[in-house]
Amino acid sequence: MKPAPFAYEAPTTVSEAVDCLASHGEEAKVLAGGQSLVPVLALRLARYEALVDLNRVGELDYVRREGSTMVIGAMTRQATIERDPTLRAAIPVLREATRLIGHPQIRNRGTLGGSVAHGDPAAEYPAVALATDATITVIGPAGPRIIEAADLYDGPMSTTLAEDEILTAVAFPVWCPGSGFAVREMARREGDFATVGVIAGVTLADDRISRAALALFGVGATPMRFRQLEGELLGADFLAVDPTDFGETLAQRLDPPNDVHASTAYRTRVAARLVAEALDAALDTARQETTS
C-alpha cells in the first residue's frame, strides 16, 4: 500500500456527492477514473483526508444530444466515447483525440470529466473542449453553473472550479456541416502525454473559411487558443491558405516550456509543423464535407 491513508466515500447520486465533498471541505478530493490521481497518491505527491469516489454515480455516465450540442456526463469512460457511434458522427474530433489518450487499459477507466477537471496542460480533452467552444457544467452546494471552456483553466492542473464543486458534464457544440477538424500530436511513446499537440477546426462556406479554431496543448501552462490568428483565416479562400506559413507564424508567438522532454526551440519547431499538418487536414476534411 503506497498511498497515505484516506477516508473513502462512495456516493450514488450527484447530490450525495456534493454533500460529501462539502462535509470534508478542502481536505477532500474527487476521484473519477483515477488514472492520474491514483499515481499521484501512490507517489505521495499529494495526500487527502478523504476521497469522494464518483464511480457509483450512475447519473453521470451518459451521452445525449441536446439541440445542437452533444452533452457527455463527467463519468463517461474514455473507451465509451471512443466507441459511441453518435459521437463519432457528431464530434469526430473527440474520437480522434480519445485514441491518443494513454492506452486501452487507461481509457477503460479514465473519464471525460476527470481529464477535463484534472487539466493537465498536455492532455487532449481540455484542448478539444477549448477548440470546439465547449461548455462545462459544475455543481456545488449553491447549485449548478456553467463555465466556458476558455474560462476553465487558470494554470497547470488548476481550474476555476471551487473546492466544493464537482464537474458534472461537458457540452460539445456540433459544428455545422462543412466543418473539419484534425488532431496532431507528437509524443515520445504511444500513449504518453503530448510533447506538443494541435487541434485545428475550420468551417467552409462557398470555399471560404467561415469559422476557425486552433488550440495547442503541451506548449504552456494551459491549453491555448489563438483567436487573433484564427481571425486572419476568416473569409479566406481555402486554396489561398498556406498551412506551412500559418504554422510558422503561429510558432513565432509561442514560448513553450523548456524541460527534460523537449527544449523550447524543439517544441516551437514541432508546433509549427503540427499546426501546418492539422490545418491542412482540417481543410481537407471540411472540403470533403462540403462536396459530399
Binding site: K2, F6, Q35, A42, H103, P104, Q105, R109, E190
Partner: protein, 179 residues
C-alpha cells in the same frame, strides 16, 4: 481501523475481504485472495504488468482501489486457462513464439491480448502494436509477443492477421516451435 468489507467474484469464485480504502485492487488480489499471478511492476500505471479484467474490461489493477471493485467480476491470469495443467491459446502462443523470457510482464500481456482479441478478432499489425503499447517488456524486444498475437489470430480465424489486404510491417514468424 478504517476498513471496508468488499465482495468480489474473482475467476468465477466469490471472495470477501476487509480492506483499507488505500489498498489497490492488485494488492487485494495478491494478498487477500492469494492470487499472486497478477504482478506489480511500477505500481503507478506505467508498465501494465498488473492488468486484469474488471467486468470484462482490461484495466490496470494498481490504478483502482480494492473498494472500488466491490461487486465486480474480476478475471486474473489464474482464470484464463481452460483447466488445470492446460494453457489458453494466448498462453500457448506466448510459449510457442518466445513471447516471454523472465515472465514478469507476461500475465499483464496475456490479459491485455485476451481482451483485445475479444473486441478485435482480426487486427492489423499496427492495431496489435497499439493494443500492446500499454504493456512494457524488458526482455523480449516485443517481436515474439507480436508473433504470439498473430498466431492466435491465425488459429482462431484460419486467416492471417490484418484486414484485407494484410498490412504487414513485420516478417511473419516462422512455423511455431512444437512444444
Amino acid at each position: 481501523m478504517n476498513e471496508h468489507r468488499i465482495e468480489i467474484v474473482v475467476n468465477g469464485r466469490k471472495r470477501t475481504a476487509s480492506v483499507e480504502p488505500r489498498k489497490v485492487l492488485a494488492d487485494v488480489l495478491r494478498e487477500d485472495c492469494e492470487l499472486t499471478g497478477t504482478h506489480l511492476g511500477c505500481e503507478h500505471g506505467v508498465c501494465g504488468a498488473c492488468t486484469v479484467l474488471v467486468d470484462g474490461d482490461a484495466v490496470r489493477s494498481c490504478l483502482m482501489f480494492g473498494v472500488q471493485a466491490d461487486g465486480a467480476e474480476v478475471t486474473t491470469i489464474e482464470g484464463v486457462a481452460p483447466g488445470g495443467g492446460e494453457l489458453s491459446d494466448v498462453q500457448a502462443a506466448f510459449r510457442d513464439c518466445h513471447g516471454l523470457q523472465c515472465g514478469f510482464c507476461t500475465p499483464g500481456f496475456v490479459i491485455t491480448v485476451r481482451a483485445f482479441l475479444a473486441e478485435n478478432p482480426r487486427p492489423t499489425d499496427a492495431e496489435i502494436r497499439s493494443a500492446l503499447s500499454g504493456n512494457l517488456c524488458r526482455c523480449t524486444g516485443y517481436q515474439g509477443i507480436i508473433a504470439a498475437v498473430r498466431q492466435v489470430v491465425r488459429q482462431r480465424t484460419g486467416l492471417p492477421p490484418g484486414a484485407e489486404p494484410p498490412a504487414s510491417d513485420i516478417r511473419p514468424p516462422s512455423v511455431p516451435v512444437a512444444p
